[in-house]
């Protein structure tokens, strides 16, 4: 199982993105079932839709949000997961924001072995296999 970070969606959607070509290859691997099931969280959708809304517009934000909601399982971050993520956020020396920390907890809770992200900071985090 693999957890998908916001940049994976954005890099795929934007043909100008520096990671677009890598994202195309990565999505082929993801959708071919190489990592079995794939999923994301409601917090990540919020980030993808938020960035798209600000930088491209509402129509595209709706399109991409709808596509994510239809295409995969969404893990809702509950209070327990948020508290766990808060623990990582307050302790870590890495430049991870609270949503990044919820990604780690989401992967852990779902027993996902991998996180797909182009965020280099995750590579410094122990106990996570990063796919990019």
């Amino acid at each position: 199982m693999i957890f998908l970070d916001a940049n994976i969606f954005l890099a795929h959607d934007n043909i100008n993105d520096v990671h677009h070509e890598k994202a195309l290859l990565l999505w082929k691997r993801i959708e071919s079932g190489e990592f079995e099931q794939y999923f994301t969280s409601d917090y990540v959708i919020n980030e993808v839709v938020g960035v798209t809304l600000r930088k491209f517009g509402k129509d595209r934000a709706i399109a991409i949000g709808k596509q994510i909601l239809n295409a995969m399982n969404i893990l809702n971050i509950d209070e327990h997961m948020l508290i766990e993520a808060w623990g990582i956020f307050t302790e870590t020396k890495l430049a991870l924001n609270l949503v990044d920390c919820t990604n780690i907890i989401a992967a852990r809770i779902a027993d996902a072995k991998f996180i797909a992200t182009f965020d280099k900071e995750f590579k410094k985090s122990e106990g996570i296999s990063i796919i990019d």
């Binding site: 969606f9 959607d13 100008n16 520096v18 980030e47």
Partner: protein, 78 residues
């Protein structure tokens, strides 16, 4: 239809309490509601989903080259 009794470990207490409360409010039996929930769960799992990549990528315009690396900056100003 054959009916059985089950015991389930690791159920989230709060989720179960809320579920039971909703079931009681609707005048249903817990077993009936749980059966419906299981059927709904299975139908959701079996529902064919579109691929995310069936949404064709587009040109986000000049200056968008590093957006996937600037999520924090755009949303949180950091």
């Amino acid at each position: 239809m054959t009916q059985i009794q089950i015991a389930v470990r690791d159920v989230n207490e709060e989720a179960f309490r809320e579920f039971k409360s909703d079931v009681v409010k609707r005048g249903m039996k817990l077993g009936t509601a749980l059966t419906l929930a299981m059927e709904k769960f299975r139908s959701e799992l079996l529902k064919p989903r579109p691929k995310f990549t069936s949404l064709r990528p587009v040109d986000w315009g000049r200056g968008s080259e590093k957006l996937s690396e600037q999520v924090d900056e755009i949303l949180y100003g950091g």
